[in-house]
Symmetry: C2
Subunit: 141 residues, 2 copies
């Protein structure tokens, strides 16, 4: 089970953004430099964050991105959903009665994987961007 860089970067970038956007729009270039993430890759990520109304963009010189919601209302779930980082513990279709690989019924461990998926998603639902900001301030020396 691995968390992909895309998901990790999305959260990193938003935390960075949240710390500065009250002053000015934050350019991807700045985030790229501060967080060491490729600018081109950030652009892909922010395009999705924007489509999902997590950020707003401001074009032109001195432009950049701004949060579109209160940091308290941006949960990890929302961020991950926006960048297509989803938790998948099985291959079979959730809504179908069929099992993995097109088998007629669900397998003997199916319930377990459902539980696991819920367990992980709960973590994401309970963590907001704001939690990360506070946590970060606390641990800053």
């Amino acid at each position: 089970m691995k968390l992909t860089s895309k998901g990790r970067y999305a959260v990193m970038a938003l935390v960075d953004l949240a710390r500065f956007d009250s002053i000015n729009p934050v350019s991807l270039r700045d985030i790229s430099l501060r967080q060491g993430i490729s600018l081109d890759y950030l652009e892909q990520i922010f395009s999705k964050l924007k489509k999902n109304e997590i950020v707003k963009s401001i074009r032109g010189t001195q432009g950049g991105y701004v949060l579109n919601k209160n940091p308290n209302d941006i949960k990890l779930t929302n961020i991950f959903h926006a960048v297509d980082e989803k938790v998948k513990t099985v291959q079979c279709n959730k809504d179908s009665k069929r099992g993995c690989n097109g088998k007629a019924t669900k397998c003997i461990t199916h319930n377990l994987w459902d539980e696991l998926e819920i367990h992980i998603n709960t973590f994401f639902e309970n963590k907001s961007l704001n939690d990360l900001l506070n946590k970060n301030k606390e641990t800053r020396v």
Copy 2:
């Protein structure tokens, strides 16, 4: 975040095994047929389970595999560890002070990923093979 088939198959196969091994050693061929998992792939998986002393092998005709421990003492953690299915929320080395991609320090969201990793691993540590057997009996019609 995806759970790989290897990890899923390992657990499925062991649950299947646990239901029959009190009578006879269970051959991989039987597990393969019952669970719809490629025999060749199962062989790779059981080779690892054996190295980690989760199962014992009995060679020859009427041979097969048997659990090497009490189902209560086989946690999901042990199974996953055996087949190299590990939870990885970061790229950077746990024990190093350096961050991802060789950066000099850990990133601003590092704590979060640690928490996530612990959250997931807790689930695996608290689930034993025995839990799965009971659960399965309960839900069987």
